[in-house]
C-alpha cells in the first residue's frame, strides 16, 4: 500500500512537471492606436472576462497591446441550452475576425463552456457546440480554418462558483484566446 501511494505521488509529481503549462501567448493586436471598444453590453455583468476570474472588476477598457486587457481574452456569453451568438456579441466576433485576417500567422483557441446543470459529458458536447458557433462566425468573416482551434471544457472550468443563475450565466460562455 505504501508503495502504491509512493508511486501515485511520484506519478502525480511527474504529471505536474510534465504539465507545466505552456502559457497561451497574447499578441499585440494590429489595430494599434485605438482604444478598445466599450463592452458594457457584452456580458451578463457588464464586463469582459479575464481567464476564469471575477467578472465584476473588469470594465472592459484597456490599452491595445495590454496583455491582460480585453483584447487578450474575449468572452461571449450564451443563453441556457443555446449556442446562438446573441447580437450584442457581433462586435467581439468582428474584431476577432479583423485581427485574425490581418495577421495570418496568429491563431485563436475557442474554449467552450457550459453552466453546472446536466450531465458532464453531454455538457462537453454543448460546450463544443458553442465553440463551433463562434468558429463558424469567424470563418464566415474570412478567417482561415487553420487559425482556429476549439476545445470544450463543458462544466469543468466554471468562471464563477455558485448554484444560481448569476453564476451559471457567467459560465455559459466561449472564451476567445489568442495564441502565437
Amino acid at each position: 500500500m505504501k508503495r502504491m501511494i509512493t508511486i501515485a505521488c511520484l506519478l502525480a509529481g511527474a504529471v505536474l512537471l510534465a504539465g507545466c503549462p505552456k502559457k497561451a501567448t497574447t499578441i499585440q493586436p494590429p489595430t494599434a492606436g485605438s482604444q478598445v471598444g466599450d463592452s458594457s453590453n457584452t456580458s451578463p455583468s457588464g464586463g469582459a472576462s479575464t481567464s476564469g476570474g471575477d467578472l465584476g472588476g473588469d470594465n472592459g477598457r484597456g490599452e491595445v497591446g495590454d496583455a491582460t486587457g480585453p483584447l487578450a481574452r474575449k468572452v461571449i456569453y450564451f443563453d441556457f441550452d443555446k449556442s446562438e451568438i446573441k447580437p450584442e456579441y457581433a462586435d467581439i466576433v468582428k474584431l476577432g475576425a479583423q485581427t485574425l485576417t490581418g495577421r495570418p500567422g496568429l491563431k485563436m483557441k475557442l474554449e467552450g463552456n457550459t453552466d453546472q446543470r446536466g450531465t458532464r459529458e453531454y455538457n462537453i458536447g454543448l460546450g463544443e457546440r458553442r465553440a463551433q458557433a463562434v468558429r463558424r462566425a469567424l470563418l464566415l468573416q474570412g478567417v482561415a480554418e487553420t487559425q482556429i482551434t476549439t476545445v470544450s471544457f463543458g462544466a469543468e472550468r466554471p468562471a464563477a462558483e455558485g448554484d444560481d443563475e448569476t453564476a451559471w450565466a457567467k459560465n455559459r460562455r466561449v472564451e476567445l484566446v489568442y495564441q502565437r
Partner: protein, 432 residues
C-alpha cells in the same frame, strides 16, 4: 524550471500526498423501515490485534450502512459470547434480534491474524455460516468487509459489495486555483488513495472489467486526452489524443476495447470504439447531433448512449455491427442522459429532468419500460451501480458543495457520503 525546484516539488508532493485528501463518511439519510435486526457481538481478540483494528465494529457498520440491517448497539448487549456454543439464544431473541454473529480474531504469528466467525439464526438456532479468513494487519479492513459480504449474502441472497471500491474526482481549492484529484477509496469511503492529480480538470473515470485499471479524461495538456492507468503500478498510457473531443471512455466487457466520444473537425460528436491493442478505431454513430456517454451491454454487442438527434438529450441503444440503426429508449421528460446498465441488465439508471431538477431515474428493461425517479435532489447526476446491483452511487450538491450519495435500487434507502473538504464528483463503483 531548474533542478532544485524540481526536486523540492517532488518532495513536497511525497510529503503532502498521504494527507492531502479526506475520507468520506457515510450518513444514512433514509433507512429501510423493515431493516433486519442483527447483533454483531464484539469479537474476542488478542490485545495487540484488538488495539489495531476492530473487525466486528466494521462488520456492524457495513451492515447498518446498507440500510437493510439494523445493527444492535454494543451497549445494549447483556453478554458477549465468542462462539456458537455459548450463545444464550433466548436472551438474544428477547432483545429482538433475528440474527447474531459471533467470532474471534486469533494471532497466528507475527503480522498474521485469523478471523473466525459464525452466523446464527436466533429464531431457530440454526448455524448459517462458520468461516475463517486470515489476513495481515494491513489486510484486516478488507477481510472485515469480506465477513460483512458473506453475512449479507447468506441472509439476503444477494452478494455483498462491501469489499469493493469507488473511484471519484475530488476538486480542491477555489477559482482560479483549483486542483483535481482522481481518487480510489473503499466502498465505505475509507482508505482513499490519490491515483492522479492535476491543475486541470479530470473526468469520467471508468473501471476496467478486471478492476485493475481506470480509463479517464484529463485536460492536463489543456486539451482532452483519454488515459488508461493501471492502479497497482501507476503506469499509464495515452490512448486517445485526437484533434477535437476525446471523452467518455467506457470499457468493453471483455476489457479489449473502449467506447469513447470523438469529434470531427466541425465539432460533431459521435461514438467510436477503440481496440486497445491494435488502436483500430470504428465509428459507431453518425449523426449531426451530440452522441456521447456510451455504455456497453454485457454481451459487448451493443451500446447505450445519449443523443440529442431528436432535440433534447434522450437515451438510445445501437448494435456495434455496421449499419445498425439506433433505437430510442426514453420518451418521458425532455432530458434523459448518461445511461448506466444494472449488472443483471434488468434496469437502466440515468439522469432525468423533472420540475426543473436533475434526478436519478431507473427504467425497467424487462417489462414495459416503466420509469421511476429515485432521488429528490436538484443536481443529481453521474449514477453508477454497485456491482451487485443493490445500490446506485451518484453525485449531488449539498449546501453549494459537490458530494456523493447512495440510493438503493428500489429507492428505499438513501445515504450521503460527506467529505470534510473540497468537492466530490463523478463516482464510479468498481467491479467485484
Amino acid at each position: 524550471m531548474n533542478r532544485p525546484h524540481v526536486l523540492l516539488a517532488m518532495i513536497g508532493l511525497l510529503v503532502l500526498c498521504p494527507r492531502s485528501w479526506a475520507e468520506l463518511v457515510v450518513e444514512v439519510t433514509k433507512g429501510q423501515e423493515d431493516a433486519i435486526p442483527i447483533a454483531i457481538v464484539p469479537f474476542n481478540s488478542p490485545t495487540e490485534a484488538a488495539a489495531s483494528f476492530d473487525v466486528s465494529q466494521l462488520v456492524s457498520d457495513d451492515l447498518a450502512r446498507s440500510g437493510r440491517f439494523k445493527s444492535m448497539a454494543r451497549t445494549d448487549m447483556i453478554e458477549q459470547p465468542h462462539m456458537g456454543a455459548s450463545i444464550a439464544f433466548d436472551d438474544w431473541r428477547r432483545l429482538n434480534n433475528d440474527y447474531i454473529v459471533v467470532g474471534q480474531v486469533q494471532l497466528l504469528g507475527p503480522d498474521r491474524y485469523n478471523i473466525v466467525f459464525e452466523l446464527y439464526n436466533v429464531l431457530n438456532r440454526q448455524r448459517l455460516l462458520g468461516y475463517q479468513i486470515s489476513a495481515n494487519k494491513a489486510g484486516l479492513r478488507l477481510a472485515s468487509h469480506q465477513v460483512a459480504d458473506m453475512v449479507f449474502q447468506k441472509i439476503l441472497g444477494v452478494r455483498g459489495a462491501f469489499a469493493t471500491r469507488v473511484a471519484y474526482v475530488s476538486v480542491l481549492g477555489h477559482l482560479p486555483n483549483k486542483s483535481y484529484q482522481l481518487v480510489v477509496a473503499d466502498a465505505d469511503g475509507m482508505n482513499p488513495r490519490v491515483v492522479m492529480q492535476s491543475n486541470e480538470p479530470l473526468m469520467s473515470p471508468s473501471w476496467s472489467p478486471d478492476g485493475q485499471s481506470l480509463a479517464y479524461v484529463s485536460f492536463e495538456g489543456k486539451l482532452p486526452t483519454v488515459y488508461v492507468q493501471e492502479l497497482k503500478t501507476g503506469e499509464r498510457r495515452r490512448v486517445s489524443a485526437r484533434a477535437g473531443v476525446n471523452q467518455a471512455p467506457a470499457w468493453s466487457p471483455d476489457g479489449k476495447k473502449l467506447a469513447l466520444t470523438l469529434s470531427t473537425r466541425d465539432g460533431n460528436l459521435d461514438i467510436y470504439t477503440l481496440d486497445l491493442a491494435s488502436q483500430a478505431l470504428t465509428r459507431i454513430t453518425d449523426d449531426p447531433g451530440i452522441d456521447t456517454e456510451p455504455q456497453w451491454s454485457n454481451d459487448g454487442r451493443s451500446l447505450y448512449f445519449t443523443s440529442d438527434r431528436a432535440g433534447g438529450p434522450q437515451i438510445y441503444r445501437v448494435g456495434i455491427q455496421p449499419g445498425d440503426k439506433p433505437r430510442r429508449l426514453t420518451f418521458q421528460n425532455s432530458y434523459n442522459a448518461r445511461p448506466r446498465l444494472s449488472p443483471d441488465e434488468s434496469q437502466l439508471a440515468f439522469v432525468t429532468q423533472e420540475e426543473g431538477a436533475y434526478r436519478i431515474a431507473i427504467m425497467d428493461l424487462r417489462g414495459r419500460g416503466d420509469v421511476q425517479v429515485l432521488t429528490r435532489g436538484h443536481f443529481d447526476v453521474s449514477p453508477s451501480y454497485a456491482p451487485n446491483g443493490a445500490e446506485i452511487i451518484y453525485a449531488t450538491r449539498d449546501r453549494g458543495r459537490g458530494v456523493l450519495a447512495l440510493v438503493s435500487a428500489d429507492g428505499r434507502v438513501q445515504e450521503r457520503l460527506v467529505s470534510s473538504e473540497g468537492e466530490v464528483q463523478e463516482p464510479a463503483w468498481s467491479p467485484f
